[in-house]
């Protein structure tokens, strides 16, 4: 939209305001996935996938302009508060994921589907190991195994979350 606001007609202004919400879709999707994580579905072990991480991964590698570092930080803070994690943990790691992947976006262009999965595996594993390391000062007895289990379930949820994000991108975000 190159036309200045003052030169727009009333309809054009309304259309611009209505289309602006689409830029918030990545953040809203990640926050929605965070709410799914706190639904009362009690599982026997730490088998719940880290869905917000998958959202950050997808939008960092597909449309990083719609998920700036500050947005990743704020989403991370929300995840910390809602999940009851130490404040700043996910915020810090989400910024690192966003900065690391967002700067390599050209490497993801025109790559096959399996490439995304192949990159996601070490990223998710590293994220979980870093989470465990940062949590050790808070709870020295915490074991690494639950984090590895969660890494595996997160990776298992990757195709579904990617599909959902891709659907949102093609149907809502890129339509604008």
């Amino acid at each position: 939209m190159t036309q200045p606001w003052v030169l727009m007609t009333r309809e054009e202004r309304l259309a611009l305001l209505l289309s602006a919400w689409r830029t918030a879709i990545p953040a809203l999707l990640i926050l929605g996935s965070m709410l799914i994580m706190v639904l009362p579905v009690f599982l026997p072990g730490p088998t719940l996938p880290h869905l917000p991480l998958l959202g950050v991964y997808y939008w960092s590698t597909h449309r990083p302009n719609l998920l700036p570092a500050w947005a990743a930080f704020l989403i991370g803070l929300a995840v910390d508060i809602v999940l009851g994690m130490p404040l700043g943990l996910n915020a810090l790691l989400f910024v690192l994921v966003r900065a690391g992947l967002g700067s390599q976006i050209t490497a993801f262009l025109a790559r096959p589907y399996i490439f995304g999965l192949a990159v996601a595996a070490p990223v998710i594993l590293l994220f979980q190991v870093m989470t465990w390391t940062l949590l050790l000062p808070f709870e020295p007895r915490i074991g690494l195994t639950p984090f590895l289990v969660q890494a595996a379930t997160t990776l298992a949820a990757w195709p579904l979350m990617t599909r959902l994000c891709a659907l949102a991108q093609t149907r809502l975000v890129d339509k604008w």
Binding site: P40, F42, G45, G84, M85, L87, W132, L135
Partner: protein, 304 residues
Amino acid sequence: MPLPPATTPPYPRARWRWLIGRGMVIFLVLLGSLMLIANRSIPPAMMSGVALDGIAPALSVLRAPVEWVRQGVTEVQRYFFVHRRNAELEKRLRRAQAIESRYRTVVAENARLKQLLRIVEPGQQTVGTARIVGSTAGSYVRSAIVLLGAREGVARGQPVRDADGLVGQVVDVGQVSARVLLLTDLASRVPVRVEGTSRTAIATGLNEPELLLEFLSPGRPLRQGDRLVTSGDGGTFPPGIPVALVTTPQGAEPRARPLANPGGLDFVVILRPFVPEALQPPAPSPGLAPALPAAPAQDGSTAP
């Protein structure tokens, strides 16, 4: 062919944008690290309360489909297992009737003896009944979010139970919602007693389905199926609330499975502490080290 000048941002502007972007990432990484360091000493209790109040209404709406699915599955199960379940329940009813008759006699006798000895025992006082609207079951935290908050008298440290047994303890309170630390959380410690004996222990959460029994006092060897109830030590959990059943009695690390069924948690009862003073912070005494809390430590900086 060079791009038209209008579509290519001038070099200094692009350089500045790049620099600001990098600067922002460094700033946010530093900010996140500082928050993590500060988090150890300042538990953001107020912030957690506000956040809980923010998401609790959304969760109470979102839980509806989950509830429908659960009800649907239960209905299907009931339909297929109705005969077997009926026979089982009839058997249990006959056994329960025999136990009930003995129970009534014992309760009456117990009341008479207490009256003779003039024993005054505080009863279980409830704060209220709450619906569970959310849970966190990640690799670090095992907690539940309930729709009852400070407005109704919920406070940090209050015990929470359901029909089957102890569920956990309140750790964060908002105005209309609260977070309950489940027994299975790594930070959970509950003083228990083996029912029918004087053996006591601390039931410790492991972020696993089972609890670890620590500091087991000497006495009769544990048996599989032994019931653990709250001992009342520390004054937080009222004595006699069922907690868990022993599953692995042997070895250096006996285990028990909580009786409160996490999958079926719909409504819970929030209780007042057995001894209300148990949750009061100890008065500062100069020259002395702060006294250990009588109740299991529920420091917000390390948990949930």
